[in-house]
Amino acid sequence: MRILKLQKKDLFPLLKVISREAELWAPTAKGDKFAYGRVLDFSRIAMDAVRTIIPPKKIMVPSLFNMFNFTEKGYQEDLSHVTDRILFGIHPCDIHGLLILDKLFSQAYLDPYYLEPRKKTLILGLSCLPDAYCFCKSTHTDIIEEGYDLFFTDLESYFLVWIGSSRGDDLIRLAPDFFDDKLTEKDIQTYTKWQEKRDNAFKTTVNFTRMPDLMELNYKAPFWEEVGAACLACGSCSMVCPTCNCYNVVDKLFLGNKPGKRLRHWDSCTLPEYSEVAGGENFREHKSQRLKLWYTHKLQAYVSKYGKPSCVGCGRCLVTCPVQIHVKSVADALEGHPVEAFWKKFAQEVSK
């Protein structure tokens, strides 16, 4: 691993050089929030974005896209969302999110619709400071050891740039003059101070090592009924989660002998039709059962298979669920701590 120094003023010129052959994608402002988008004007890059509304999974598998066109004679694959990209400004939690999706989309069979764009996307990570909802330190996804080509740590007037892959190294070679490979004692001190500051900045914590047992022990706990009663079954928690990967496939037909389209769109286990089978039977008719599945997957099942939770602590469910059912409030309930969330108040209100 090599670490280089890049002056701040050289960032845009560098991006210009390396994005000649690929689309540059980065967080940009969307109202008072952020969203990944293709960037042509570098001044639009939101360097201070903590989290985007939707994680970068949307770049690999769009929320709704055409898999192939078909007629009575055969089909023709549509991989129009696959293109060379550079993803700049992605934080450690979201890089871990992609590493989890890599596993899930290459289990039993390789999913080309995810893996092809993934292969063609260079990952240029960027350091961040947590806001009140980030808890990636609890999920051990606050730092990265793999899954990036370059990683930029922002130290006020300059960046320290980690090279994480040979493809990253190739990028550096496109513009070697921007980089300085002589790090001073002071640079190291500045970096260590920054690390300390970041470590101490986390406001939200979740004790994940206790979660698998607590899920098991609380399988019949009454609070599942409470979250179930308040849940709007809106699917938002899954849409915004960087590790939620479920999808549905529908055929869209057109009049006038035009080819049909096989569409694929994001799905969520919190939606009623998700567990419905032919004949109308539903394995998880009640929202409490569906939420239990969601949290079993995040906090327990994935741990037993891969040794870590499938939550990367990005805080998106915390800021998104309208009734505040999220990893933090559910973890608090599992631990028997007092819960400050709408779903708890709602339970008290309706039982009056």
Partner: protein
Amino acid sequence: MPKDKLKIGIYELTGCAGDALLIVDCEEELVNIFTAASIEAFLMAKSDNRHGELDVALVEGSVSTEKEKEELLDIRKRARVVVAIGGCACVGGPQAAFLDKKEWEKNLKKVYGNIEFSHSRPLQSKPIDAYIKVDCYLPGCPIGKAQFLSTFARMVNGNPPELFRFPVCVECKWHENDCLLNKDILCLGPLTLAGCGSVCPNFNVPCFGCWGPTEEANRTSEYYLLREKGFDTEVIKNRMANYSGTRITEFFEQFRKEKR
């Protein structure tokens, strides 16, 4: 593609005729609609309407007279598949919201006075599934072109329609909109069927519920949530009632019982 063209009839009961009009308005596809199927009856578009056996009947509007009820029962007898199109046929429309039988009788008298109805006796407005079995519901006030055309194309190819059953929020998230409800704006997305492409929140306008309620619409939770955000009970009730037809009456009856 089935060899014989499907025989399709399009009918209008009580409503604004918006759904039939939308079909007529599919200008560039109109020729395709009329060539892909044999349109047996469609009062708005043609005069030589036949009243025989049908493969599919598309029915717009709610039932609000004795005559319409007879007509609907007759359509059901003749059609293999009945599709309710639009909010009035699906859930009853605004004319079916909020009225109990007594209230309705009082209103009828107030509007029409003490008269003999010679043409057809009025009935309290109801969605069509109050009288017949409905095979499929195409929601919207009015229905959407894209959804209508793809549903129609599936039917003429012998496939059952496949519609979204989840709420607007899902499509809204697909469009990466910043949630309005979380900004304390009265958005009915969580209670409303998707299929519109979340057009309103895409332009920062809250969902008014025009696609009609989802099967599982959790009104109780959203009601309390909106109360907590400071909205007035009447405002919430009226907004929820707009496109929910008879469903809202059922909800508030249930709600009153729970509160007792």
